[in-house]
């Protein structure tokens, strides 16, 4: 067949351009909205991009690794508290060792604490599979949730209002455009990291373990180790997303890591189409924009939202990218 008219290739190329268009829109539209006097929407888009980053990180293990982690909001929370706690001590004294406004310190704490938490909980939960894995990841994230609820020093249930942002040389995160730019560039870098990983030997082993763990093991691949490393990378990236989220909100509360937040992250991945590089971005965009739309109609927006989620599971398998994929596989059959 002439490669120029091969429909599979055409659609493959089309999906590339769709992804590129999405990223281009995210690069242009929010700043334009801000400059034309819609700062509220820049805020929404910053949140969108940060959650897209977190969902991309989750996609590494959920989509490519086939590991249904229901606890990724915990990393968002840990990352946000990595901004909140040092800032709190810098403002009000105490715990000299970490009291600082320094953004590099905040990032370092956010990423390393998240990676450590992922390592400890992953080492235990990855010994199990299926439903057990879902429930255990959920339980561990709830553990962190309750720990921060119980920490009265840092506001407990009510959360921690800091009103200052991480400080970096030359730039100021207090400028909403700067914060958006940083978040967007971080998203691009995360995409690059996940793309590199999935194309590497490591990523192929991870995907192999998703499709058939026994076969991988008989090939001499230690699936557990690969999955644990992927779990840690995913957690660390999510922790970084939490650092950004903490700087966006400057109000950090345990509510950020409630297990329903983890469910929302999972929905972003699935809605956009798991194991597609840009799927989680589509998912996060669909999720956030739908939320904004429904909020406009009713305060009980969770009801139509929940119904839509159920319907999407029942009738919209594979998510937005899955539709492209379905067309793609039809194309290859013809």
């Amino acid at each position: 067949m002439n490669p120029a008219v091969n429909p599979k290739r055409l659609i493959h190329r089309a999906s590339f351009w769709i992804n590129a268009l999405l990223l281009l829109l995210l690069a242009i539209v929010p700043p334009v909205l801000f400059i034309t006097g819609q700062p509220y929407w820049l805020d929404i888009f910053t949140r969108l991009v940060i959650l897209a980053l977190a969902a991309t990180a989750l996609n590494l293990i959920l989509g490519y690794g086939g590991l249904v982690s229901f606890g990724h909001a915990a990393y968002l929370g840990l990352g946000a508290y990595a901004v909140g706690i040092p800032t709190y001590h810098a403002l009000y004294g105490g715990w000299e060792a970490i009291a600082s406004y320094n953004g590099f310190l905040h990032v370092t704490i956010a990423v390393s604490v998240s990676a450590l938490f992922a390592l400890l909980t992953g080492a235990i939960s990855l010994r199990t599979r299926g439903v057990n894995f879902i429930m255990i990841t959920m339980a561990f994230s709830q553990m962190i949730f309750y720990a921060f609820v119980a920490l009265e020093n840092y506001g407990g249930d009510d959360g921690l209002t800091i009103d200052v942002r991480s400080e970096f040389p030359l730039i100021s995160l207090d400028n909403p455009l700067t914060l958006y730019a940083i978040s967007f560039i971080s998203l691009l870098l995360t995409l690059a990291i996940v793309y590199k990983i999935t194309r590497s030997r490591f990523g192929l082993a991870l995907q192999g373990a998703r499709s058939n763990e026994e076969r991988m093991r008989s090939l001499g691949v230690d699936c557990y180790r690969y999955q644990l490393v992927a779990f840690v990378i995913s957690g660390a990236l999510c922790g970084y997303a939490g650092f950004l989220l903490g700087n966006l909100d400057t109000f950090i509360s345990p509510e950020m890591m409630d297990w329903t937040r983890s469910g929302e992250l999972m929905f972003m991945v699935i809605l956009g189409g798991a194991s597609f590089l840009c799927g989680p971005i589509f998912g996060a965009a669909a999720f956030i924009l739908l939320e904004q739309l429904l909020r406009g109609f009713t305060i009980h927006w969770h009801l139509p939202f929940g119904i839509l989620l159920i319907l999407s599971v029942l009738f919209f398998r594979g998510g937005l990218s899955g539709v492209i994929d379905k067309v793609r596989s039809k194309g290859s059959n013809s």
Partner: protein
């Protein structure tokens, strides 16, 4: 005085354990026989509490309300099974989790629309509201004893149904080999609906027993469902015996941890440090225990033998 306080805390722990068992029993049934993960189980618990609260206001009697609320919660469960859950049995666990997550959003919001955002307290009748002096100096609320008694009765009833009735035989058979049971001419769809309704009734029972103590509130199910998962994971998924033992264990450890951990910590560190650390650690205690047990036995204490 110390001993009597300990006794009361033990009773509280037992009561929490019993409630957790009622919840995990329903989940174990639906998981064991239908291989279905239901995140929205906690919402049925909430519905049980709210329905009972409304009926108590309507009829003026908690007992009548409770007796009516049970079948009504089961009916809600049946309805949910028919509309949503039935379409999902053939899907994988991820789809179960996502769809029932959507269901939680719907049910919580519906409850908020019907009953309002504030919680509803339930007034107990005189007879149940009193205190009982079991030993000299040990005074216990009668209702707490009743909760424990009803929970134990329900557990015994469940044991009899599962192990000594035809329905129980079908449930056990379905749990070990679904395809075979349906080939033998059992209407598996009706069986599934029945079992789901039974699980809903058990969750509703837990909810309406808790409502007079705490109160019926939006999101009450979302808090307890994770603890219920911890119970199931520790007990061994799909195992009723495991769920029972793990539920009591978790109930006792959680309650005792919250009341005694700060005293224990004060022996080891300064008062200030203990008062900061103890609440956080005791909130994490059951999860840490889960981690410990899973590190040694990844399949839980009593893994179901059939799968």
């Amino acid at each position: 005085m110390e001993a009597s306080l300990l006794f009361i805390q033990l009773l509280n722990g037992l009561q929490l354990g019993i409630l957790l068992f009622l919840l995990s029993a329903g989940l174990t049934l639906t998981f064991g026989i239908m291989d279905f993960v239901n995140l929205a189980h906690g919402s049925l618990y909430m519905l049980g509490a709210f329905i009972c609260a409304s009926l108590t206001q309507l009829t003026g009697s908690f007992v009548i309300a409770a007796l009516l609320a049970l079948p009504l919660t089961a009916l809600c469960g049946l309805l949910i099974e028919l509309v949503v859950i039935r379409q999902l049995y053939a899907r994988n666990h991820l789809d179960h989790v996502l769809a029932t997550f959507g269901l939680i959003l719907c049910l919580d919001t519906l409850a908020e629309i019907i009953w309002g955002p504030a919680g509803i307290a339930i007034a107990l009748p005189e007879l149940l509201n009193g205190q009982l002096e079991i030993f000299p100096g040990v005074v216990v609320p009668i209702f707490r004893l009743l909760v424990i008694a009803i929970g134990l009765l329900a557990a015994a009833g469940l044991y009899l149904v599962v192990n000594h009735t035809r329905l129980g035989m079908l449930i056990r058979a379905g749990a070990s080999n679904r395809t075979m049971v349906s080939t033998l001419g059992v209407d598996i769809k009706t069986l599934f609906s029945g079992v789901f309704a039974m699980g809903a009734a058990l969750a509703g029972l837990a909810g309406l027993l808790v409502a007079p103590i705490a109160e019926a509130s939006i999101g009450m199910g979302n808090e307890i469902i994770i603890t219920t998962f911890v119970v199931i994971v520790i007990g061994g998924i799909g195992s009723m015996k495991g769920a029972f033992i793990a539920a009591l264990l978790i109930g006792l450890i959680d309650t005792l941890g919250r009341s005694y951990l700060d005293d224990l910590f004060k022996l080891m560190m300064s008062n200030d440090a203990a008062e900061t650390a103890a609440p956080a650690i005791s909130a994490m205690l059951i999860y840490l225990m889960m981690a410990l047990i899973l590190a040694v036995r990844p399949q839980g204490l009593f893994p179901a033998s059939s799968r």
